[in-house]
Symmetry: D2
Subunit: 272 residues, 4 copies
């Protein structure tokens, strides 16, 4: 007879409710998808419709989009956020959008259901404190050059202000490899599942930077234990004002759902 195994995955995740009857970290893997930037009503509505038809319940979209270069498109701002909310309401979807500084938190809390903290802001502490004082679920993206320990400490900065509805998001780290935009760290997903109460989702779009790798990366994230996905989609990636090369065309979303559903089922979970 085999001895009792000594090494098992001890999952410590405590689900975070993001909407009525909908939690991240429970049985269902949660799909969050939408455009990198909100560009127009037509573009956002087309993306929202694709999310809805694929069975997704959460629409992502960026309104304030400061970019590495000051000469690139910087987003529609508050108008973009309102537009995102209106389109989501047409389809009964939840909204996730980024608060990119303290002074944007109240708008994000008003129009979005989930507030995202971007990778570059993972250690912008005043912002962590500010979202820690809201009662909204927070998606905390890992800094692309932050260790898992720093990431969990950043989450603590939020939690110590009273808000424990934190969802971690692994979005790839910066390494020497240049064939992909970042390196998806599936080890980190597995590690967080064992050492933290916070659920963790994966962002295969930023983690690869290439649309042709998004689906395999999404599968790998779920197989490592991810509780959800945050995916960039666009009606016309070639014309996208940002991140076109890593956005899935809408027609690919059903394939993403189909492929990741198989992996979710293998993990004893569903996908929604």
């Amino acid at each position: 007879m085999l001895a009792q195994p000594r090494i098992v995955e001890e999952i410590k995740t405590r689900p975070v409710e993001i909407g009525p009857g909908l939690s991240v970290g429970g049985l269902e893997v949660i799909l969050m998808a939408g455009p990198c930037s909100v560009e127009s009503y037509e573009q956002t509505r087309a993306a929202a419709e694709a999310v809805y038809q694929s069975g997704g319940r959460v629409l992502r979209g960026g309104a304030f989009k400061p970019r590495s270069s000051p000469h690139s498109f910087q987003g529609l701002g508050l108008e973009g956020l309102k537009l995102l909310r209106a389109v989501a309401d047409e389809f009964g979807l939840l909204v996730i959008s980024e608060a990119l500084a303290v002074e944007y938190v109240s708008a994000a809390a008003e129009y979005a259901d989930i507030i995202q903290i971007g990778s570059r802001n993972m250690q912008h502490f005043p912002l962590l404190w500010a979202v820690g004082e809201t009662n909204k679920p927070v998606v905390l993206k890992r800094g692309f050059m932050s260790t898992v320990q720093e990431w969990l400490l950043a989450a603590e900065h939020i939690a110590t202000r009273g808000n424990e509805r934190i969802i971690l998001c692994e979005r790839g780290i910066r390494t020497f490899e240049t064939a992909t935009r970042n390196t998806l760290d599936t080890n980190a997903i597995a590690l967080v599942k064992q050492s933290s109460p916070f659920p963790v989702i994966g962002d295969p779009s930023h983690a690869t930077g290439r649309a042709d790798l998004v689906i395999p990366a999404a599968r790998a994230a779920i197989a490592a234990g991810a509780d959800g996905l945050l995916v960039e989609i666009h009606p016309n990636p070639a014309a996208a004002l940002s991140d076109g090369e890593q956005s899935l065309p809408l027609a690919m979303l059903p394939y993403l759902v189909d492929e990741t559903k198989r992996i979710a089922l293998a993990m004893g979970r569903g996908i929604i």
Copy 2:
């Protein structure tokens, strides 16, 4: 009606036969497992038996084990290789073992069925040329700080000498993260599947350096498209002369097989 998808994974893999009726890169995900170092007959036989009972067909083991420090255990040498062969033959298993320099290639080719090129040797070109002149399948581990492009060029160094029976092995890359020994690069697995004819396997033991992360890493590798696994196991990891902290105890092997089989099935494959 949905438009025709424009982005699909185009898998280019050409299977490599490693034994009668057994190929890497085909329908079956191939499990290769065994101790980091061959330490004794008893230890090696116990590992081989566990591989056999789990349905595995390939036994791994290191005979020549130079280590970062000259004061660490350096392996049993040729005697270790012969011992590995003898034990494998008891169970009808194939053998994979490393040739760590040109002068070891003939012994590896005599006693092993598959020759492994270690991560530190990925760009040791005379060794690549030497195994390129054998007719043995070669597992080419990715340098832990080599790009995918350098890895594929290293494979070409082998192939241009006449031996195209090359199996790539992603074993984790060195990054700034220190919670894990290396970072498993699942992006690279997916990329290689689309851009190279050579099958690719994953080594979740070196890619994590922690036994408690080996199973999730193995799942992630297969979900990204890996054609096999190379896993370190040991009857008594705490007493292992090398790599004990990342070796699975034998009793965990059935769990590894069970969990990875589910993912393999989700990918439309079996595991053996």
Copy 3:
């Protein structure tokens, strides 16, 4: 006769005035030194006195010090900033201190002569825009995870708002090496000198994380072309509330000045 050399360093630096008759980027290498955190009047005054006695003209000090862990010392806040100003005035020194978010910019502009943007905030764009609307010199630390190109683009985010008094600061990047806290990137210093109008200083304290390496790192930075140094010093490093292991004891400051002066002279410059 030798052909005309084709490769010479073309230095493009445009000096930035930081006080009456004092510029960064000109003939003099500028020393900025002081404690990581302002802890008390006695500690700050002792550091200021050491700077003054060493011929330095700029006192650094942190007032708002959010740290990776929310349980570490977080700084004295506005009181710390006022204290720093008062002590600097005793010795006629200029003050450099960090504005860690948009809402801290006005206080920093009121009490400091030079506003520092921290490494973690290099791409916190609203903060870049806010300091871009002041008329204060800005020290822009390189993100420890940012490329030179991203760094120069971040400077452009400031400059496009009207403030071109930007001083870059190389403070080490995160790499796989763990023997030092960061890796000082002297290549980046040299590259910036040739490709940007902004002066660049080096921070040997964060770049090494070890007091015993601060002096050689300071020498290397100046030899690569740095226009100044930003150095952490403390009356009693062992008792420092932050960064003690990388702070020079005050008694070492004259040695630092002596060693770096020799290098500055070799570069045809002085140090002040």
Copy 4:
């Protein structure tokens, strides 16, 4: 009166003699220069003449040059090594050249005065053991993916075989930065000076990959404490068969010597 300083650089270097009256690690900084690859008699002689006229005493050159791609120029082999020796003898120069595998050690020991171990081979242990059994000075390049600790352990692999005439060479490490080929790690130079008996030289050519950064990188290396330089030069970099973009044209060598001599003097040393 100032208290006794507690933090000083304690230099532990033990000089290694490389020729009659010529040591690395002593008062003189040693310049080693020459072409990446020996391509022809004319090219090698022109480089040797430039070294000689600049006061240098050591000629570098590669004879066996396997490259990442098997389709690139792979060197002249043994003929290249003989040619290098002959040209060096014309000018009374010492020769340093690489032994790229165990089977090349005897030829390198026969024709060169100093045997170089390349960066990719830093942990190719059989090669370390083989040069450890010669009585030649060995330049051990740091693996571009290796920590300082691994580097010093690699040196121990050589030393334990009886040869302690080891010279370390920092040649840049691989990081996320892509503006330069590698990142010169001046921290590592300073650290090795304090923690190892072996002298250390810098290779500003590989550490930058850009001819326009070679001179500032050479200055930084010496300011950090380097005992020598290993520099690639070429009569016509644009036509070089390898590494042209990082080779200094011969006409620049006097400028390199002039600039580094100033830094060496500031360090209390000469250059030869």
